[in-house]
Symmetry: C3
Subunit: 422 residues, 3 copies
């Protein structure tokens, strides 16, 4: 039994490493999709978000999200620093007999790695025009308060988990991805679009990302990390459970990529790499709510639909709503997060009308709360200190404006380019 | 026993993650070794290959490669979708008693990650001049049919595994790497060289890759993933088995790098990074067939020979045969794949004349089949739709021609460069 | 018990993979922080260092560092090739009963991955001006002899481990990081600064790195790998032990980043990405000596102090001492290595005056030996063959000078840039 506890705990820790590397995935994906002049800013934000996320989760988030049985059915958890002494498991064999599969420390660090992802999702959507300091204040408040509150509703045993037909969100299509996506939506509404993006004559300017290799590295790392994100959410190394999740996660990602390939061609008459990359991510987000409930065929269908949604949703937000989201975060995480949550009511072991309704309630409730909290925080920051860089800084780039450096330095001595400005 | 089954299964899943990340390694390696104007195309192909590979392996490849005992000694497996219900292991303790070490789902996903690598190997060799759609059709057919058929000959219990002295290919020097290398050879023969590569006066133009950092990232990620590729091929977490494989794999890779350093200097009188990187890969491919049979010293010798072969083989293909392979895939995977397979007959626990002959038969049979199937598929595609982009597109680059985008976007506003064309 | 041995051993192997990928982290970090014209050179050095490190550790380092009980309390280990036959564990259950947790092969490969990191630390500090061949000779000698000798003093049961109050260095703040940092210090003193760095009028020129994305990728990969570096140093998969180390490591890294953010702003009045990245690394180096002894709060304090030290130390070396260290290795690994070692005497389960004195003795002894051995090796090389490239090569870049290639190739045909020189 000691060995069983050890192997279960080990998988949570390995999964922690994998979820951690998703932060590099987000950093490179977002860096690749922004212009060259705003790359340092993205890297800076993503380096700070993981740091802030871990610290706030230690000081407040963990207890707020997992307050224990006393808060069952509730809407808000407990305040307080993580209880360090409770991290230790005194007797592995006894713990395993009781059905426990990991130590308190493992629980904390695995969940802490999840917490910061919400803010990272927002980071991409508001890129290229948000001021650094207000964004970091938002990230701190959102990760410390908003994410743990909505997370507690389900994973902390709150009201969503206590409905007659309980809400189901295996690894966070709603609690992580839609939460981040809706927060991003609030942010881009308040922030406005990048200069020159939407012209008064109705035309929409495409602003291409500066490095497709960075974007592709990001997507592969995110897929890699998703094995820990979904696989670790089994909360043990149970062989059938984890291996099933690996298969459904992979098949949905693959189907998302293939569907986005075809849909991208239908819409744009070209083979659009951005769409395939976002299609893979859409498939991953889509399978996340029910990765443990689906068969291979169902995972493929969920992925195909997610991959079909992606180009349509990106065009809808960009051309119809004229909401400027440089990386497509609202579509990938928001729209596909909802899709994945609803899919639990349509496919797999929990499918059914009651489940579908619960899924709808849950995703809308979490989405609404995240949207509202993000809107309130950014509104307050806008009133107090402003959230948008000035016009000159936006044109020149945030790298020079906020960080006084370039992402890439080239000099004449490098022997390749002639420096023509600065 | 439940714990033992769980830890064995867990290692297969962790190894699956590691093999997955090899696809990012191939993507960045190949992207780094091609010209700037063809980078999106490479990333697109590699994103699609893993997606196509997983889906086709689910629908057809898995049963074709692992058809079960009824097909023992045969030459072709069974057709049909993966049997989802058989993925579950009902009783872990009983399974462990019976010697099983992983679930059916784990088996599928680990093997599925291997399947697409063959097509990825071809992707690099045909870079910078192949049309996208015929390549994707080739990848689909090759991964769905050719790779599982030759794979079944050995790993599925087919005729190579049933020879009097059975063929031995621990993790795929032949079944994966030489198979991919020979398919690549057929492809580049049919496709022809890049424009301007071989002049009529006999001179050979070097076409340098556009980013050595991307290439180096690729090789380190491939080495990282190889711990799963070879280590996972133990098919359990057996401590002696897996740790031995880690040591032999690492020592061979290191020796390959060192040998290519010296041989590169002998040939080119400079310290050639491409050669060291390919030497490391050559060492990895070389040890793959017998990673579980060798001592440390033998692993080093195998790696040294592989690393010595690499520069010689690359020059031979490029200068003597005038076959254009932008990333050296035929040398790394084809030639070193053969070398590693033969090495099993020369070094280690299975060395012997009979074994050497069997190894020769096996690697030639698989190589010939892969070459022939690749040749047939590409010939058919050439006749039906053409496989090569037109001259104008090749000059302008496939990124604009096939994908209507640049890998790197720079504008005057970025404040660093003046845009001088387009 | 067989399962327990298997899971313990598996964690050492997974940790080995994680430590391996730190070599890619160092490669990309250093490549990002140097100028475009010296990138191939950095990648070449880092590819060779891991290769040389593994081979020398097999042939000499392992026995020199872990000579067994006969050498208890000593100052130098045994010479000889790794004993291959001793890699095997004959009976897993019996081994587990005896308290063993991994095979001899696992021990070798995990420790071998550590060995080369010392030389990698030096590689960054001497970048952009050192000759390739003397550096590789230094790396070979330092990894084969100096690192294993000082490592043996503690981890091999030598004199530091036998003091009345034994020295404590959990995962190598001193034995790995300070050792590397002090070797780097000796090297940059002997080598001198890059041309144009320090002017005769007292001004100091900032020479920005060529790619912040590469630098950021490096730091995230190093953090990722540190889970194996520190977590694997538990030397088993013990749930409480490893999960505690994951938490302290992560919190210290996060605190290091946040402290460097503030201190960087105080010093430079801008949000300096290099400082945040180095602050994270400083936090990681700082927690390494006592990652298993600290509480969450203590880990955060250690990280905050490390992150505060980083900008101050970098400025002190650069402006006051006028010692040129392009990547800040002396501050990150040397200064924070000392800080982390001393912190074991100030915080956590072993805090106390006697422990503090021992920590001081240990870190100074190892630092002094590493400095002296590095100074001697480089002095010898300087006398025999010179260690610095000539002025023309330094201006033109080592990529062309040593390797006859560019890190990035661009041609007019790429359709983006006009080539203006070469």
């Amino acid at each position: 039994m000691e060995a069983l506890f050890t192997v279960n705990n080990l998988w949570i820790l390995v999964a922690t490493c994998l979820v951690f590397i998703m932060h590099l995935g987000f950093a490179t994906l977002e860096a690749g999709f922004v212009q060259r002049k705003n790359v340092v800013n993205i890297l800076f934000k993503n380096s700070m978000i993981i740091s802030i996320g871990l610290l706030t989760y230690y000081f407040i988030g963990y207890n707020l999200m997992y307050p224990g049985d006393d808060y069952a059915g509730g809407v808000i958890g407990a305040f307080g620093v993580m209880d360090w002494a409770a991290g230790v498991t005194p007797d592995y064999a006894a713990a395993a007999e009781a059905g426990d599969t990991y130590t308190g420390y493992s629980d904390f660090i695995f969940q802490a790695m999840f917490a910061a992802t919400c803010a990272t999702i927002v980071s991409g959507a508001v890129a290229e025009r948000i001021k650094l300091v207000p964004f970091l204040i938002f990230a701190t408040l959102f990760v410390a308060l908003s994410y743990p509150i909505t997370g507690m509703w389900q994973w902390g045993g709150g009201w969503l988990a206590s409905l007659q037909t309980p809400f189901y969100d295996f690894a966070g299509s709603t609690l992580v991805h839609a939460a981040g996506g809706f927060a991003a939506l609030a942010a881009i509404i308040l922030l406005g679009s990048r200069r020159g993006k939407y012209r008064s004559d109705g035309t929409v300017t495409a602003i291409p990302g500066h490095s497709m290799p960075l974007a592709a590295i990001g997507v592969f790392l995110l897929w890699f990390g998703w094995f820990g994100f979904n696989g670790g959410s089994v909360l043990s190394a149970d062989p059938n459970g984890v291996s099933l999740v690996f298969v459904t996660t992979s098949l949905a990602a693959a189907a998302g990529g293939v569907a986005a390939f075809f849909m991208g061609y239908v819409l744009f008459k070209s083979y659009d790499l951005s769409m395939v990359l976002n299609g893979i991510l859409g498939g991953l987000v889509g399978i996340t709510a029910g990765a443990d409930l689906m068969s291979g065929g169902e995972a493929i269908v969920i992925g195909l639909i997610a991959g079909t949604i992606i180009p349509l949703s990106i065009v809808f937000f960009d051309k119809t709503l004229r909401l400027d989201d440089p990386v497509g975060a609202t579509s990938v995480h928001g729209v596909c997060g909802i899709w994945g949550t609803l899919a639990v009511g349509l496919f797999g072991a929990s499918a059914g009308f009651d489940q579908f309704i619960t899924q709808l309630i849950g995703t809308l409730a979490v989405g609404a709360f995240s949207f509202a909290s993000s809107f309130m925080i950014f509104s307050g920051l806008k009133a107090v200190m402003g959230i948008r860089v000035d016009e000159e800084e936006e044109i020149r780039g945030l790298d020079v404006g906020e960080h006084d450096m370039h992402a890439y330095s080239l000099t004449k001595e490098d022997g390749v380019f002639q420096l023509t400005s600065e």
